[in-house]
Each structure stands twice: as C-alpha cells, then as structure tokens.
Subunit: 460 residues, 2 copies
Amino acid sequence: MDEFIIRGHVVNPVAIDRATMTDSVVHVGADGRIVARHDAGTPMAARVLDHAARHGMAVHALSPAQLLMPGFADLHVHAPQWPQMGRALDLPLREWLEQRTFPLEARFADPAFAAPVYDEMVRTLLANGTTTAVFFATIHEESSLLLARTCLRHGLRAHVGLVAMDDPALCPPAYRNASVEQALAATRRFIHAVRALPGNEGGLVRPMVTPRFIPACTDGLLQGLGTLAAEEDCLIQTHCSESDWEHDYVRQRTGVNDTVALDRFGLLRRGTVLAHSCFMTADDMALVHARGAAIAHCPISNAYFAGAVLPLRRAWQAGVHVGLGTDISGGYSPSVAVNAAMAVTAARMLDSGTDPDRPAATRGAPGSRLTFTNALWLATRGGTAALGIDAGQFAAGQAFDAILIDRAAPGSNILPPTHGEPDNVAEDVVQQILCNIGRPNIYTVWVTGRKVHGTDVTVA
Amino acid sequence: MDEFIIRGHVVNPVAIDRATMTDSVVHVGADGRIVARHDAGTPMAARVLDHAARHGMAVHALSPAQLLMPGFADLHVHAPQWPQMGRALDLPLREWLEQRTFPLEARFADPAFAAPVYDEMVRTLLANGTTTAVFFATIHEESSLLLARTCLRHGLRAHVGLVAMDDPALCPPAYRNASVEQALAATRRFIHAVRALPGNEGGLVRPMVTPRFIPACTDGLLQGLGTLAAEEDCLIQTHCSESDWEHDYVRQRTGVNDTVALDRFGLLRRGTVLAHSCFMTADDMALVHARGAAIAHCPISNAYFAGAVLPLRRAWQAGVHVGLGTDISGGYSPSVAVNAAMAVTAARMLDSGTDPDRPAATRGAPGSRLTFTNALWLATRGGTAALGIDAGQFAAGQAFDAILIDRAAPGSNILPPTHGEPDNVAEDVVQQILCNIGRPNIYTVWVTGRKVHGTDVTVA
C-alpha cells in the first residue's frame, strides 16, 4: 500500500464528552496506520505536505462539504438474522425466537444458504460506514468460518463467534449443540481455524467465545467456555440482563444477576462484550468495570425486546467501556449512526419518562440524557476501545479506519451549511451526521488504510 | 397529461389496522386521478390492459423488487427552520426558541434569504416521498407567499400558513405581529393571495389560518383568527398541549385545556390540525372528535421537547383523525417514514416504560403499542383524510399521489426478498420500508399523476 495524505475537515471523538471539528492534514502510512494528524496551516502540517510533495505521495483535498470521521463500530450483530432485518418486530419474544429466529438460524447448517447472505450483509455494513463488527454467527462451524472468510475478503474488521447453546429447556432439537463436549471442541476448532485463515496474519478477523446467553446454556457449557477462553486467550461475547424475563430467569436459576454468574463461570474478562445490560445494578456495573468488560448498548432493539432503556450515563460514570450495537435483527437498522441517534432519543425518553398521565416530577429518571457528542463516541472509539483495538480516533499510531462523508452528495438529507449556518460547531455537525446520514453521504470507507467501499479518492 | 398504467406490487393502507400487498394493475387517468386498481390476473385487470393496448397508453411493469405505495403526508413542518434541521437539539426549549429559532425565522423578512431555503426544502421533501405537506411559514407575507409558489412550481400538495403571533410576553420585538389588526389583515390578504396564485386553480396549494400557539397570541388575535377562518372557510393549524410547560401555561391563563380554549375562540373546526397533543385528556379527545379536527403526531420532536409520548391509540379509539408530522426542526428528520418507525418505537416505550429501576408492572402504560401497519396509515391516508383530501390510497377517484419504491436499488438498506423470505406479508414489507427506506429507494414520486421527483417510468 502507498502512503497518502487527506486534507480537509476532520471530526474527531476526543473523549466521550468532547469532539472536535478541525481543518486538518492527515498522513496515512504504508501500514494503514495514521502517521500524524495536524491542524491545517500549522508548520507541522506544512512539513507533512512538503514531505508528501517530495516523495510523490497522493494528496487528496476534500471539498468544504466533505469531512472525515472514524468508521463505526457495531458491537452486536446476529449475522444469520440478516434476512429478517426489519421484519417480525411485532411478535412477542418467545414467538419471535421459536417461529422465526431459530428456524432461520438453523438454515445456516447449509453453507450454500449462508454464502450469499453473509456476502450481502458484510458489503451492506461497510456501505453504511461500519468498519468494526462483532458477530454472533450460528452453531455451524462451516458457515461461521465462511462468515470470517467473507469479512476478510471484503476487509471488514470483525470478531466472529461460533454460537454455543445446549440447554434443551430453551433450544429446539434442530438447533442446539449435541453436548457440552461437542460445543467446546467445536469452539476450540473454530478459534484455531479463524486465527489460521490465509490472509489473516494481521488479525483483522478474530474469533470470539460465544455462549448465546445463560438461559440457553447449561452450567457445564458455561464453565467449559470460561476455561476455554482463558486457555485460548480469546475474547467473549454474550447477552446480559437484557429483559425482565431474562434477568429474572437467571436470578431464579443461579441466585445472582447475570454479571455475577458470568464472572463465576470465568466469562467476565477484559474485552468481554455484554449485549444490552439494561437491568444491571450499580454493583453489576462495578464488577464489569473491575473486569474491564464492556456493554454493547442496542437502543432500537431494547425498545422492542427489553422493556426498558439502559441508563448509559451510569455505566459511563462507573467507568465501564460502552459502545453501540445494531442487534440485527432485534434491531431493524444496519446503521450504527441510526442507532447512535436513537441512543440520544431513548436517553431523553428515559430522562423525561413517557407517560403523560403521570406528573412530570415522577414521570422519568432525570439525569439520564446523552448528547450527540456522547453518541459519536459510543459509535466509534467507545466500541473500538472496548475491544482493545487501536482505531476509532484520528491519532498517531491508530489504524486508519475512516469514512469520508459528503454532505453535498446527490440524495443527501444532511444539509451542507449553505444558508449561513456556522460550520465549526462540532456538536451541530455531529448531530446532523448522526441524525440524517444516508448511504448517498458515505463516499469512501477505509479499514487500516484499505479502501473497502466507495470511491478511491487517493488515486489521481 | 396522458393516461397511464402501472402493473406490479401495490401496498395499500386500507384502514388504520389493515394494509394489503397485491399484484395489481393501476390505471391513472388524464386528470391525475386513479381510474381503477384491480388485482392482476382478474378479468377486470385484463380489460384495463386491453383498453390500454387499443389506445396506445403507456404501460409500465414494475420489477419484483419494486412496489407502489401512497405518498407520505407530513402534517407539521416549520419551513423556516429548515436550515436548523438536525442542529441545536441539545438546547432547552426556551434557549432553543430565543437564541436560535426566533432569530432564524426573523431572517425570512428577506425573500432573497427565503428563496433558496424554501426551494431546497421542497425538493428534499419530495425526494423523501412526501406528497402532502402542512407548513408553518413565518409572519412575513412576501416570503410565505414565495413558499406557496415554490410548492406549486415543484408540484408539492401543500397547506401554507402565514404565522400569527403578537403577544409581547413571549414573542421578541423583532419577530412578532405589530397588532391584532395587522395580523388579521395580513392573514386575510395571504389567504386571498394563495387562492389566486396563477396555476393554483386546482387548489394544490391552500392557505391555513395559523396562530402559532396560545402562549404566543393574545386573546384578541385568537378570537379574530377564529372568526376569519369561518368567514374565509379556511383550514386552521396550531400547536396543542405539547409539553408540560405549554399545557400548564394555557391552563393558568385560560382556566381550561388547549382544546377547550381553542374551541371557544372558534379555532377547533373540521380539518384543524393540532400538532403534538401529547397531554390531551379523554375529554379533549372527545371534543376534537366532535369538531372533526386532527392530531399531527410528531414522535421524534416529542422526545426532545414534549417530555412524554402521545397515547396515539387513545386518539384513534376516540375516533380522532391522526397523522404524522416531522416537526422540522424540533424533529431532526425530513422523512415521514423515519417518523413512522419512531411512532412505533415510541409507542413501545410508552407501553413498556423506560426506567429499569421500576418494576415491570408499574413501569409503563400497557395497551399503548402500535403496529407498523398502523404507522403506514398515519404516514399516508391518516394525514390526507385529516385534511379532507382525496388521496392516500389506491382507490378509484383518489388523486394518484404515489411513490415507486425500488428495494433492489443500489444503496438500498431495504432487503429485497432474495433469501427465500415470503414476499406477500404486507406487515413485513411495510415494516421493512418504514424502518430502512433511504433516498436511493425512492425511484419516482407523483402528485396527482404528475411526476414530481425521480425517473419518469411511464415514458417509454
């Protein structure tokens, strides 16, 4: 890969409560990592441009309506539910699982069914600006490995989990692991196979230990997976305290909350991704923080299946890693940006409450609001930091995982600042992007400096 | 205009709780109205196709991934807030009004500022599939009339209101009517001017009597506008019981709720559009029903500025006309479909409640859910029926206000049914469209048979 330079507006999530928008010069090295980002017009920026000119490097100047931002991180996607995205959300959870979701996932026993689904999904996620994704696949080794290969081929940074689920009380006969031993052996083989994939020497695609959730797994399986994750030094993902039903079920079976149960099984480790977590207590959050695990907040899905809004500010204030998940197909959108806007909206609805029959003073949970700047962090650096990935910000040494947004693209619902609005207020620009981004705005997408979607702007 | 025929999938909102998806033959007459819609393969459909062949009419066959649906009706748009769309939502209402919104609206005193804003807005709404819009303009006659002319030029069916606001207690000196008499005379001139616009003989663009909301208007102005609306037989729009603050303010000033106060002033009539209405009581709804007025539900905006969710099922069950509003820029999206999906999501969050610290049994307001089929109705026929317009369904005699959706368009986030999913379940297809529609999916838009956006598919 050749080094290149991009000059123009850069939106950078600096911290969970601070983003900047600065006219910048960004230097991307031959290894796909950011060599430097400097404010335009500074001596350092001039030196980079000089260096580029002397070495014949491609320099791309953005238009005033264009900007660079980090790629999105999607911490929770059920890959096999892709064909069901935006369908069946009117069903109750049990019916949704038994009549639609489990039968659909069971079809992935056939790699010929899986191949076009996974190909379409990976290409669509990239086209929506997702550069890092965390996938639940299915219990099927061959098609799950196919998913890993599909991510690698298209250049999507991904974590892929072979799902483990063995409890006959919840899992249908046609779609569950045959035994604890079978599930553990399959998971170990899958971890080795993903790590050994040709072209995966840089670790772009990583395996994940993936107990579906406590209600779907026997104690033996959960314990075995905890041990396996430690032995293989492998990240873990699962669902956690999602809904009243699930939270109560775990308490009845184990006597404790999900986090404590997971911790006893060795499943709460640095980098463990806990989807949903709506019903975590302060103690749960302290434990998650102590272990260095993360929450994948899935605000659209939670409106349909959780029955409550995750008090995300609490998790943030407890020091817990937090990112966003689309939770396809419990969530209907493949766009992390749409989920980011929904995170802000849902936080407002938690803050104010929703029922006009109650007096304002007792309607909501004041202090729960999020800003769009917070949501940008969740959608980008929050997610990559949770996974321990050096990406998600424009900072020296981080991978160049980025999106070129064109606010003046034909078909844009983001308004370029053509009516005299200020164009240097990061919060406003971030808000416009997260609220109204559409596929026409996503001009180019890079992962580790490799163009993975759109137009190659660095080729003259 | 020449008659034409379209053959293919048609999604039709039959009632608030019923939509159909049928392979159809739609015959559009020279007057832009639907002559007939027949199920494909029936003798009636064959007769229409025969007739078309004999008369050399254009016949367009949709692909299996394409479908026709009614255009969207947006019952509440603040046209001058267009440049602020997707900005400033983090501000409290008072700051938002005083520091951002009123100063922005005041700029429309200059028609040269208004012209490009209104042009961009009308084109963008059409591109998002909106075929009927109800606008608050500003207090300025010239630029408000310019808005009406802009709608007419681009073919958008519209209701345009010259805003009336005269109370110095709330309205800044630089942006309010000089007196009751001035406001009434301006409104009367505006009504006559819109009705007399060249090219508006068919009434595509209609004036509306538009008191901003009770807190911004003196009693004299409200009474005068009520009398004027009756004299001119002109529809009315205003805000109603939007937030705790507004609702309480009106109760303190008038001793009654908004609906009763509006009714006393003669402002609650057949076709009056009441934006928001979150805090309406059962008595309010009964009164609104008795008068034949309508509610414009604005679910995105309400999350930011109302502090509660309108219990829309209650309004529907009380027989009140209900439609959707984007409420730009209190709402951030120009898309009625995005608001329709949010209506379903918000209803779930009203139903379940949002605060996980409360027990499930007392968290929400059960019985509040909406389906996507309900939301389709709100987004289309609910809105046009509220306004007394014969459009919004594929039925003989209605205006052909329609969108051609292409689910296989490059850049689509709607998944065409390519993985074996059933494609005849209207609820699922409606859900996919409302959840994931983007501008790439909106191939052609018609108002009264006139192509107002996209590709002219009826020209060979």
